[in-house]
């Protein structure tokens, strides 16, 4: 299955990936090859097969509505690239 330049650019935008122009052709080929490989599944007759919702045949796993202690505040923020007064600090997110 062939994937277009536009589709690659859209997927890149949605995934927040920057693909330089000179890499576009290479990416296009790699993704198309993967899709073609998976396409083999279309040979199967799935007329009476229900779509699978989960890989493991397991259902209805719950927990009771009980509060357990949360992470220590400092530990919770220890992976934050930037911190400000107990908040996770992130770059401005609105787009012009």
């Amino acid at each position: 299955m062939k994937i277009s330049h536009e589709e690659i650019q859209k997927i890149a935008l949605l995934s927040r990936l920057h693909i330089p122009d000179e890499k576009l052709a290479e990416t296009e080929k790699a993704l198309s090859d993967i899709l073609t490989y998976v396409e083999q599944l279309e040979e199967l007759d799935l007329t009476d097969v229900q779509p699978m919702a989960h890989a493991v045949p397991l259902y209805n796993v719950y927990r009771e509505d009980k509060v357990v202690p949360s992470l220590d505040h400092e530990l919770a923020l220890s992976n934050a690239p930037e911190e400000d007064n107990g908040y996770f600090k992130v770059p401005r997110v609105v787009q012009e």
Binding site: V61, V67, N85, P91, R92, V93
Partner: protein, 480 residues
């Protein structure tokens, strides 16, 4: 009217559970930033979310109350988008197999009942909160994120585009809020964000079947903002089309201060959420037995209560609607009737003096210092003739202030109605002697003059004389 407004609503309501939807962090509001977080709601690698059973129970209840089909097989999906209020870069939600489908809600606007269809209800997690460093988001260099709200359980209730005005949209949310309140599954406070509402709005020529291009309006944080927002946006679109323009499909925000909707300039490609089944959560199966058990736990809902108040209590449509809007109010009336009071009389006291007091104190009937049994006792004192209706207003006010029983107040303040013939006769004679002009008027055929004289006797008795007796004795005395 050339154009018709078409509105569909998406309502998000926070569920009143103790812990979050997929982890044990508390849902309590107002903790210090990032103190109600754990690896699961922060989306740290290697963690495993597990569904809070109560969220499922609540969702089934709401679905049944809104006449939905409960799906025997439903599952969670990932809704992918990048925004820092979601630490995982996806929201765990339900997509093609949500917990509920195909329900409805009846609303009444202008004396007419309209059925608003409900497309679906699904369970999902709430997002965190962004605090911007500048005064607005565009003037900020950075944002600060608090993830305490991330993972608080939400139900999203999506309606069909069945509403035709801002007033209908408001009535729908009002009714929905009332039902959620009856079910006791959410605080439903719009101003505090525990109930949020987005509106999809379009306009079309009256008689047209095809839907026009819609816009989505966010940030309407009260019932009046919702109504105004819908009305403004419909008018904006109608004017745009009238001027030969075209509505652009976009998300707009309601600015309550300016009283208008503003474009949020979101890129079209951003709205591709690439849903896929959530591999970390297993699917849910719900048996018919489970659904029937849930149905048994439903309380009597506003529509049923309203019908009963009309049938059993003989109340008007309008009165029963007001009295059933809140469960606390309806329960109060039921309790007062159970304590022996006449339903219509009790309803009148509740709609009149008591409503005023409850509203002024900014509480519900549940917390009123006058208990249903006390109201019933007070009404019995009127029936027995111990106090007049007029004095009863005074007694009720004292009951409200002191919490004391009505008979105690009547006793303490000496408010017992004067039914002693001799005492009333003396007052009547005195008033006749003091008001020769009115007596003259009455005798010369001006029947109205009797009202003034009755008033004077009541005044002289400090309101305590039995008005019926005063009336009768005055007439007797004057016709002598």
């Amino acid at each position: 009217m050339k154009y018709e407004t078409v509105v569909g609503l998406e309502v998000h309501t926070e569920l009143k559970t103790k812990s979050k939807i997929f982890c044990g962090c508390t849902t309590e509001f107002g903790g210090d930033q990032n103190t109600h977080v754990c690896p699961v709601c922060l989306g740290l690698p290697g963690c495993l979310p597990v569904l809070n059973k109560k969220v499922l129970d609540y969702a089934i209840k709401v679905g049944l109350a809104l006449h939905c089909d409960i799906l025997g097989f439903n599952k969670f999906d990932r809704k992918n988008y990048y925004y820092p209020d979601l630490p995982k870069n996806f929201q765990t939600s339900q997509y093609d197999l949500p917990i509920c489908l195909n329900g409805y809600l009846d609303i009444e606007v202008g004396g007419k009942t309209r059925r608003i269809r409900i497309t679906r209800i699904h369970m999902e997690e709430d997002a965190g909160k962004l605090v911007h460093s500048g005064s607005t988001i565009s003037t900020s260099d950075s944002s600060n994120v608090d993830y305490n709200r991330t993972g608080v359980p939400l139900l999203e209730i999506v309606s069909e585009p069945d509403m035709r005005s801002g007033e209908e949209a408001r009535a729908y949310v009002e009714k929905l809020r009332s039902i959620l309140k009856y079910l006791d599954v959410s605080d439903v406070r719009m101003e505090e964000g525990s109930l949020r509402c987005d509106a999809n709005i379009s306009v079309r020529l009256v008689g047209d079947d095809k839907l026009g291009t819609k816009t989505e309006i966010k940030n309407m944080n009260s019932l009046s903002a919702l109504q105004k927002g819908v009305e403004y946006e419909a008018l904006r679109q109608a004017e745009l089309v009238d001027d030969g323009g075209q509505v652009v499909q976009e998300t707009r925000t309601w600015d309550d201060g300016k009283g208008m909707t503003l474009s949020m300039r979101k890129k079209e490609a951003e709205n591709d959420y690439r849903y896929f089944p959530e591999p970390d959560l297993v699917p849910l199966t719900i048996s018919d037995e489970q659904i029937e058990d849930a149905r048994k736990t439903l309380p009597e809902l506003p529509d049923a209560k309203m019908a009963r108040f009309q049938d059993e209590y003989g109340l008007s449509n309008e009165d029963s609607r007001i009295l059933t809007a809140l469960r606390e109010t309806a329960d109060y009336l039921d309790a007062t009737v159970k304590a022996g009071a006449d339903a219509k009389g009790a309803a009148n006291w509740m709609l009149g003096d008591l409503s005023k007091m409850v509203n002024e104190a900014n509480i519900t009937f549940k917390d009123a210092p006058v208990k249903p049994e006390q109201l019933a006792k007070m009404m019995a004192l009127i029936t027995k003739g111990t106090i007049s209706g007029k004095i009863a207003k005074k007694v009720l006010a004292s009951m409200w202030d002191t919490g004391k029983d009505p008979d105690v107040i009547v006793e303490e303040q000496g408010l017992v109605q004067i039914t002693d013939t001799g005492a009333i006769e003396a007052l009547v004679k005195q008033v006749i002697a003091d008001n020769p002009k009115s007596v003259e008027d009455f005798k010369s055929g001006k029947g109205k003059a009797i009202g003034f004289l009755v008033g004077q006797v009541m005044k002289a008795s400090k309101g305590k004389a039995n008005p019926g007796m005063v009336n009768q004795m005055l007439k007797e005395e004057l016709s002598k």
